[in-house]
Amino acid sequence: MSSRGVILGRVRRAIADVRQDDTPYGQAIDRSYLREHGARSVAETVDLLAENLADYRAVVHRTTDDELSELLMRLLAERGTRTVLVPPELPSHWLKAVDATRVHDRAQSTPAELDRVDSVVTACAVAIAETGTIVLDGGPDQGRRRVTLVPDHHICVVHVPDQVVSSVPQALERLDPTRPLTWISGPSATSDIELDRVEGVHGPRTLEVVLVSGQPRAEATS
């Protein structure tokens, strides 16, 4: 018999004592846990996102759509970035003020080539306020998973409040499981040496998150 048959046979014998229960799965689990923790206004949810991102050592900036390009230029210049990775459909006006050389990730590019790029700028799919998490789903404004992994500096742009949800349950509702997802909560870290947290091991050691609101800054509600 194949091992598949062997294992399935063992499983069936192992659970032979269990009473037949045909409750549909949707009703089988008591899901009385909360969909989100606490009641917050939209502005407060965005504030919580900013706070939790910063708590896990992401550098948080807030700006408006009009001023985004200026801000990105400044952030990249301050970092001394000469080359910046750009996902295929990053809105072109985001980088219009940026001097650094654009690098595109092609399917044939090798990881070693990406390793020589200074920074990467992407959008995101959703951001979670309660946990300070941004989620990438490989959309055309985010690029392949590796572009946000190999370079040492990642700037991620989040549209607020549209892309912000409160909680993990709400994020999963918005996400498409068939896409490869990367959930990021702060820069990579390790606590393997005497439980001392050290930021930045293999992923980007610097994570900057730019929260962009549609309206001019003066009218922002937060």
Partner: protein, 493 residues
């Protein structure tokens, strides 16, 4: 089966050694107390913790009750998404499958992301016999691998090493494996992490094959989930051309929605964070993004035997968060190595004897590696009643009875002569001559009182099997033990 550390002394002897190693104990104590306090804070942040814990338990129990159905569904969805599914009944078969898959790529090097399942089956050693070098990329695993050492904790496997030891290991061994440690390496954690980053980066960038485990597999979508901190997981999951994931059959959850429970409870229970730095999910293969070939090896290796045990099967709910290790007074004293398995601490004490059977001395003694204080049960995010399973396994060791090995029902003989009793006595002598190991937990002892009237818990269980025992007094077991020298002196209270 593999996974037993060969020549491993039974728990009491191994623990005895550990207790006398001051560095080890100091490191462990610092570590477990630090995480313990952080975890309590992270859990207190979510007001619905009890409901999340209950839902997690129910999801896992439901899955186990219908495991055949969900395994078949998972196989279909992974296959539809472009992956290939393999089934491995035991460690040898899993190792053979992986070795053949690697050889088919023509590669002789693989990068690995920390995985309990591949440690359990001894994959690295098996691959080496086939001429394939497996590089561990988790910082702690790297420390363990370079130090030719064994892991001692689920989450922080090098918890028994302090920074000075790590510096020495890096300075001495890195050049053997690839890029040497930087000149003048000091023992600051940041410098050590940087040395690991540089050493491993060249391996990631050229790796063609990655090997992983998974924290969860979603049956309805075929999605696998890896939860990590350092980014070495992302490297292994996305840069290579071929990805091979070895995952225990109990890691299934039925639906995508179920992740909303575990992605809240796992990070808070393990690293005591609201969310761990990186979580990767993937469903089969994605065109032009990540590995273009994906193999999933579904591993039994004693899990179906565990599933056949009505009391013991709850151990399969475990999501390997390691919270139970960090609160365990016995683990804190004895250290992870004493458990003689890749699964240390309270979960190891109930999982290893079930996955491997209770024939060996170490596995027969593991159910006694506990004071039954109940702290492990309190913190477990899937509510595994570890004390209940421990008592059940003690009964099995002492009295024998019906169990399942390799899918067959077998009747175990009671442990020969008074072997179990002797093991129990040794464990007891160790534990009770170190009352500090137990004091922390004693206040919780009342929670296990439901076990007391019929059978004497703790090391005395084997004892009570062959002697009439007075009704369990309400006093703490430790006090009772010391007062009566384990029942040998007349109970004169």
């Amino acid at each position: 089966m593999s996974g037993t550390f060969v020549g491993m002394p039974a728990f009491p002897e191994a623990a005895h050694e550990a207790v006398h190693n001051a560095t080890l104990r100091g490191n462990l104590r610092h570590a477990t107390h630090t995480i313990r306090a952080k975890r309590a804070k992270a859990v207190a942040e979510v007001s619905d913790w009890a409901a999340l814990r209950e839902a997690g338990k129910q999801i896992k129990d439901h899955t186990l009750r219908h495991l055949d159905r969900y395994l078949v569904q998972l196989e279909e969805s992974v296959t539809t998404a472009g992956g290939t599914v393999h089934w491995a009944a035991d460690a040898d078969e899993a190792n053979r499958i992986v070795a053949d898959l690697v050889k088919a790529t023509g590669e002789t090097e693989v990068v690995k992301v920390k995985s309990m399942a591949t440690q359990e089956i001894g994959l690295n050693e098996a691959l080496l016999e086939e001429g394939i070098h497996a590089y561990e990329t988790d910082l702690a695993e790297l420390i363990v691998q370079l130090g030719k050492d064994r892991p001692s904790h689920i989450l922080v496997p090098a918890i028994h090493r302090n920074r000075g030891e790590i510096r020495d290991i890096f300075a001495r061994e890195m050049s053997e494996w690839g890029r040497p440690a930087p000149e003048g390496l000091t023992d600051t954690p940041a410098e050590l992490a940087e040395a690991a980053r540089l050493h491993l980066r060249e391996k990631f960038l050229r790796a063609k094959v990655g090997i992983s485990g998974a924290n969860f597999m979603v049956a309805e979508t075929g999605t696998l989930v890896v939860v990590e901190s350092e980014g070495n997981g992302r490297m292994c999951l996305t840069l290579p051309e071929t990805l091979i994931s070895v995952v225990g059959i109990e890691k299934i959850v039925p639906t995508w929605q179920d992740l909303e429970v575990f992605l809240q409870t796992l990070p808070r229970s393990s690293t005591a964070e609201r969310m761990n730095p990186y979580t990767s999910t993937w469903t089969g293969t994605t065109d032009e993004d990540g590995p273009q070939t994906f193999h999933l090896v579904l591993l039994d290796n004693g899990r179906t035997d565990t599933l056949a045990d009505e009391v013991g099967r709850q151990a399969l709910r475990c999501i390997r968060c390691s919270a139970c290790l960090n609160v365990c007074p016995v683990y804190e004293r004895a250290g992870g190595h004493a458990y003689g398995s890749v699964y240390p601490g309270p979960i190891g004490a109930i999982l290893s004897p079930q996955l491997r059977g209770t024939q060996s001395e170490i596995d027969a003694s593991l159910p006694y590696a506990s004071s039954l204080c109940g702290a492990c049960y309190e913190v477990c995010p899937v509510a595994i009643d570890i004390p209940e399973v421990l008592v059940h396994l003690r009964e099995r060791v002492a009295e024998g009875g019906l169990t399942t090995r390799d899918g067959n029902k077998v009747v175990l003989k009671p442990a020969k002569g008074h072997a179990a009793e002797r093991a129990a006595m040794r464990a007891a002598r160790w534990a009770f001559s170190h009352p500090g190991a137990l004091r922390t937990g004693q206040r919780l002892a009342s929670r296990t009182r439901r076990f007391h009237p019929r059978t004497l818990p703790g090391p005395g269980r084997a004892w009570s099997a062959s002697r009439d025992l007075p009704a369990m007094p309400a006093e703490p077991f430790r006090d009772w033990w010391q007062r009566t020298q384990g029942g040998r002196k007349a109970d004169s209270k």
